[in-house]
Symmetry: C2
Subunit: 116 residues, 2 copies
């Protein structure tokens, strides 16, 4: 009985993992910048280019925007000098209010496209 439950859990886990990998595939050329160190995202960009990508989108919002610029500069100046910035787009994203009846807040976004 224990084994049976365990197998179920494992198949569920595998399905979840496959799905999240499929999600990644559809967004395979995007790097979403969060709060991790710059080098983590630099490595992600380099991995995508080494995997054959012609373009990589670095996306960030709010305070991570300056980190996104750092990442792109490190990639193209230190690691992959044959890449260049194709496009830089800025915009605003509306976030749902935090509590009921609150007003929606705006957050700035950036999307930098690197190509080689």
């Amino acid at each position: 009985m224990y084994l049976f439950l365990d197998k179920n859990w494992l198949s569920h886990y595998r399905k979840m993992k496959a799905r999240s990998e499929a999600d990644k595939m559809s967004e395979s050329n995007s790097v979403l910048v969060g709060n991790k160190p710059v080098m983590n995202y630099v490595l992600a960009c380099i991995t995508l280019f080494h995997g054959g990508a012609k373009e990589v989108n670095v996306k960030a919002r709010g305070r991570s925007i300056s980190r996104a610029v750092d990442i792109v500069e490190v990639v193209r100046r230190r690691f992959l000098p044959d890449t260049k910035v194709k496009r830089v787009g800025i915009g605003t994203q509306q976030m749902a209010p935090r509590e009921e009846g609150g007003s929606p807040t705006n957050v700035s976004t950036i999307e930098i496209t690197l190509e080689r």
Copy 2:
């Protein structure tokens, strides 16, 4: 004697002030983003456009980069909907080492050109 020194100082001060204002004139369509609140820089942009400027450059470096994006988004979405982003440029600036013998550090920069 005291008066004489004082006059000298004043003329020096006036010369300095005139020079820094001349510097500002040559860079009159630039807004350099620092650590002040976003609205200060938004007001600076609006003042430049109301003074007849066709283009305004918003420049920032390091962690102020995300604030620069906020400023541009507030100007064009809330206050001057007839302006649009003409160009976004990113780059790296090398800073002198802080102490003797230290290695130079790099800082990311952004320059956003708004036009109406």
